[in-house]
């Protein structure tokens, strides 16, 4: 590059390079999220139409028997669409396709020697790439999450959105934070392995392992869960995320696991078809340890914040590896 061209493109040079090198990845990201948005838009209109068709928009309280019945009917008509919450599996793919090859491809093919000798130092080269791509991923994911929140609103009203493995993973800010985290993880793994396909596979496995570990082991304890007695005959509206539950005997003491099993065995032996109803009629009550649906944003912001900090740490580690490497 001539000196004149360098002077003409002092700041926009690197963004332009980032765009030219990664436009296909960005187009793929926008294409996939855009295509899924279209699916959400079309199916969402039908779901909202059915929601109004069952009169649920005129139900201020879903625990009223009439409204609870309508909610059941609405749910049995539309529940197949809830399989779309599988979209929550996208972040590892984003990390795999956008993050994995970012450094691995340059290092594998040797083009890093060209890239790092162009007058833009490596730090700026990598920071620009990470910042721009990370921002693009976050923006696209946040917009998609907002659309998903509209799509899921009727289901949220009936079943809540805090249960793991479903809407929680696509709504709010966790989806975007996870995508950025997977992207940073992919970049670092690429810098370490220096082989594109291997880095992509390792990114998929590692980001999936981290995300499921967070869901299973960390999320239940981000905010201490609530333990309480379930009122009356169970709940008409079940919106919370139940972590553990059990029975309280007619005498008011909590049954141990063995005692509880004994009760169910006894009911099975006498051929009781509806054990829970029988138990509630005979003085038993249920206790449960749960996260209420109202904590959605509290859990989301803690989890997303942690993931963003981890992403920054991973990006710093990539930068360290790249700066240390000899051309």
């Amino acid at each position: 590059m001539t000196e004149q061209a360098m002077r003409a493109l002092p700041f926009l040079g690197m963004p332009w390079v980032t765009w030219r090198q990664h436009r296909l990845a960005l187009a793929g990201l926008v294409g996939v999220l855009g295509g899924l948005s279209l699916v959400l838009l079309v199916s969402g209109l039908r779901i909202h139409h059915a929601y109004r068709g069952f009169g649920l928009d005129h139900c201020p309280d879903l625990s009223v028997p009439a409204c609870a019945g309508a909610a059941d009917d609405f749910y049995s008509e539309t529940r197949d669409w809830e399989n779309l919450t599988a979209i929550g599996l996208l972040p590892p793919l984003i990390g795999m396709f956008v993050g994995g090859p970012l450094l691995a491809r340059e290092l594998e093919t040797g083009t890093f020697r060209f890239a790092w000798t162009q007058g833009v130092d490596r730090t700026r080269w990598l920071v620009t790439k990470l910042a721009l791509l990370g921002l693009a991923i976050a923006a696209a994911a946040l917009a998609f999450s907002a659309l998903f929140a509209w799509w899921h609103a009727p289901f949220t009203r009936i079943g809540g959105r805090i249960d793991p493995g479903a809407a929680y993973e696509v709504e709010g800010v966790v989806f975007a934070a996870r995508s950025v985290f997977a992207f940073a993880l992919g970049t670092l793994i690429g810098a370490v392995l220096r082989r594109t396909v291997a880095a992509m596979a390792a990114t998929g496995v590692a980001s999936f392992a981290v995300l499921t570990s967070i869901i299973m082991f960390l999320r239940p304890h981000l905010v201490p869960p609530v333990t309480g007695v379930v009122p009356g005959n169970g709940r008409a509206q079940h919106t919370e995320w139940v972590l553990r539950w059990g029975l309280v005997g007619p005498g008011g003491h909590r049954l141990s696991a063995a005692e509880q099993e004994g009760v169910f065995r006894h009911l099975a032996a006498v051929g009781q078809n509806e054990p829970l109803r029988w138990l509630l009629q005979h003085g038993y009550t249920q206790w449960e340890t749960y996260q209420p649906d109202g904590r959605f944003w509290a859990l989301q912001s803690i989890e997303a914040g942690t993931l963003c900090l981890l992403a920054l740490a991973l990006a710093a580690a990539s930068l360290y590896l790249i700066r240390r490497r000899t051309v």
Binding site: A66, D73, F97, P101, G165, A268, G271, Q272
Partner: protein, 324 residues
């Protein structure tokens, strides 16, 4: 080299295939083996509890004995039984993508095909040996995994069935057939696109474009569904396709109308289901019985394998005739 290839025409190529793709093969075996081990360990506890609760001896799944203990079992293992199949059903697509797309695309992209195709071993044998050797490894690994999975799911299969949930995609033959299709499609797209990462992304989308219509459109129609009236003793292991209400005049009643009727009854203090039965309303459904599992598996995986064969043949033809 010519002496080697003349003496051992296939073994030389097999050695090359092993050296070039052992990392991939090790990765596939590690992922499937690790998951199978996790399922096995988890399954030991689940099977033990299933037997301890006596759920294996309850005869018909609709019997009262199971109905009382099922929620208890479900509370412990319901989450795992729900999430594992949902996640595992995507696995063959990813493995197929990683095994297939880079196979030729990487050689074409980096230029090493010039070296590979000028070694005295013709292109035809080069690609045929690679395709066959990798397909065999993938098939054996996937079938082994499906067997472990089927054993793991056995307790739940007795009251959930295996047709209407993710288990259909992970046990039996469909899992393996999908993996083989993903591999063959990946090789073909790699040959045509000639860029590794783009070919991988295209393979993933292509697999979804094939598997989703097969699952959503073909599967419910492989055999004519059975129409039955719902009532006591209804078999819960079937895969329900449609449910509807029939009124006293013998005509279908829409869901919204039924919902409004049930609301009126409930507001009036009447137990709706009893009232509806007394007034000759009946609920009907079409379903596929669980006994058709293997027929469905054979038909669907047959389609997938034929498609995989076509993809592989096209890839071979392109490499031998067209690629330069």
């Amino acid at each position: 080299m010519s002496a080697v290839t003349a003496a051992r025409p296939v073994r030389g190529m097999l050695w090359v295939a092993w050296r070039q793709h052992r990392m991939m093969a090790a990765g596939v075996v590690a992922v499937l083996g690790g998951l199978a081990l996790a399922l096995f360990v988890h399954g030991l506890g689940m099977h033990a509890d299933f037997v301890r609760l006596g759920l294996d001896r309850c005869g018909s799944p609709a019997g009262g004995r199971c109905q009382a203990l099922e929620p208890f079992f479900d509370d412990q293992y319901g989450g795992a039984l729900l999430y594992w199949p949902r996640l595992l059903l995507f696995l063959p697509m990813l493995i197929g993508m990683f095994a297939g797309a880079p196979l030729v695309a990487r050689e074409l992209e980096s230029g090493t095909f010039r070296f590979a195709w000028t070694q005295g071993c013709g292109r035809l044998r080069w690609i045929l040996v690679k395709l066959a050797a990798i397909a065999v490894v993938l098939t054996v690994a996937a079938l082994g995994f499906s067997l472990v999975y089927a054993w793991w799911f056995e307790p739940a299969a007795s009251f959930q069935g295996r047709l209407g949930n993710g288990t259909y995609e992970v046990s039996g033959l469909v899992f393996t057939a999908r993996l083989v299709l993903g591999f063959a499609l990946g090789v073909l797209l790699g040959v045509l696109i000639r860029r590794t990462i783009v070919a991988m992304a295209a393979t993933l989308l292509g697999q979804l474009a094939i598997s989703l219509p097969l699952a959503l459109v073909l599967r419910p129609r492989i055999e004519r569904p059975i129409t039955t009236r719902l009532g006591p003793g209804h078999d819960p292991t079937g895969w329900t396709l449609h449910q509807w209400w029939v009124g006293p005049d013998g005509h279908r009643v829409g869901r919204a109308t039924m919902s409004a009727l049930a609301n009126r009854l409930e507001v009036g203090g009447v137990e709706p289901y009893r009232w509806l039965a007394a007034h000759h309303y009946a609920q009907w459904e079409t379903y596929q019985p669980d006994g058709r599992f293997w027929t469905f598996q054979l038909v669907e995986s047959g389609c997938l394998v034929v498609l995989a064969g076509a993809c592989a043949a096209a890839a071979v033809w392109w490499i031998v005739r067209k690629a330069t």
